[in-house]
Symmetry: D2
Subunit: 142 residues, 4 copies
């Protein structure tokens, strides 16, 4: 688990909620995506739209995502989202998210993403690339 | 009002609805966007992703949108969305949408879009372009 | 135009943006909804989920919405959303929204909403109700 | 794996896609939710909004969800979504989804849901309930 943790604070809005009055499950995957961008911005010091160009990649596409819904998030709830890298591998990595309401974990999220570039021979083909060690190092700075 | 009308049929889903149990207003603007693409596909005979390349434009960006909500659309409702061009001008046009439930109009939508291309001198600049007369002609075929 | 203006600051996220790299039009209608709730919270001092119960209404449903898109909102843009009531009528009101990027107006939004309650004789029927004068008064406090 | 499989056919829309031109990950979780409702409608013969009342439950809330993204879904792609119950337990069940493009699996989805009712002593408390055997039986009819 990386030491660097990013935190975001926001509110569950009317438009996030479904007829049961709780945030729709798909919204949490949007929130996790926000969290990953926030984490990478904090770690690497580049604005999100500049990440790809700064590192010569096409992006950090998602290959797996999941969530465990422990308690509902309701309209008006103030939430804290924490995000950190739980594991770096050669060319992919996992991000662990926690959405807290009143200090208790309401939703746990997990993402697996790839450090990906375009194939020089055929730019329509996306290929994983080794994650630079200096990138990994930036996530361990608390 | 152009003669060509496109129709789509779909269902109001759980995830479209808010805590009042009715489709969230922003969803209708997504539906109108679907309707415009369907209409252009029907008129021009090109797949949506090929529209820009086929006509040498960057797209048909929206400059104004509006909706009047007459009756609620509820979870499970079967809806029909009709879309037609209500006016062509030199380089912009209006699309009129109606969302019908049980044959009655529940929501009226309106979009103003621009036939737009990139400035040859500076591709980051988007400029309106004259709508080809053969494009307009395709919308009057019933 | 009421004196009370609410302001929200947020970022355009990856998930807000479409293949053109700009925020999808439907997202702005979500943002306007956020703005109206923020404005009512600031004016009336009740949490959004408590608004209906506090005032004996079922809510403030939208009957008309519109937006004018002046400049694109791109991934990573820091935006300020301002919201104020532009007109109170007997039982309906208009909210004017401005989404600013770098201090310039990128999107203008407008909503017409109804102060609505359930019919005592048939709770499935929603009826407009006179807006209490003390509610209107709260929006003029700067 | 239950024998009953529901199928939905729809198109990846402009508004489903992100700046990379592919459907945003959170959208697939909406699609899976659509699939589960379609499956339950097919199995139980009740309209989605009537499911809860017909079975004396409050709903089938999600407690876990996940997806594996194998190939991108692009603007204009025609997709088929298949959904089936992969396992019934006493009071919870898993739904397996596959999103196919051109006959190949692009995304695999999984949901765990609970057959849930309100506590008779405190309706604000949601409790799992045993899934009726006649409900389970309906999913094995091909």
């Amino acid at each position: 688990m990386s030491k660097l943790v990013s935190r975001r604070h926001f509110t569950i809005e009317w438009g996030h909620c479904d007829p049961a009055g709780i945030a729709l499950n798909s919204r949490f995957f949007e929130f996790f995506d926000w969290g990953t961008w926030t984490l990478f911005t904090a770690a690497l010091g580049v604005n999100p739209p500049d990440l790809a160009a700064s590192y010569g990649i096409m992006g950090i596409p998602l290959v797996d995502a999941g969530a465990t819904f422990i308690a509902p998030a309701r309209f008006g709830d103030a939430v804290e989202l924490t995000s950190r890298v739980s594991e770096f591998r050669r060319s992919s990595f996992d991000v662990a998210h926690q959405l807290l309401i009143g200090g208790a974990v309401a939703v746990e999220g997990r993402e697996t993403r790839v450090w990906a570039g375009r194939d020089p021979g055929d730019p329509s083909v996306i290929r994983s690339r080794p994650i630079p060690s200096e990138v990994m190092a930036r996530f361990d700075v608390p």
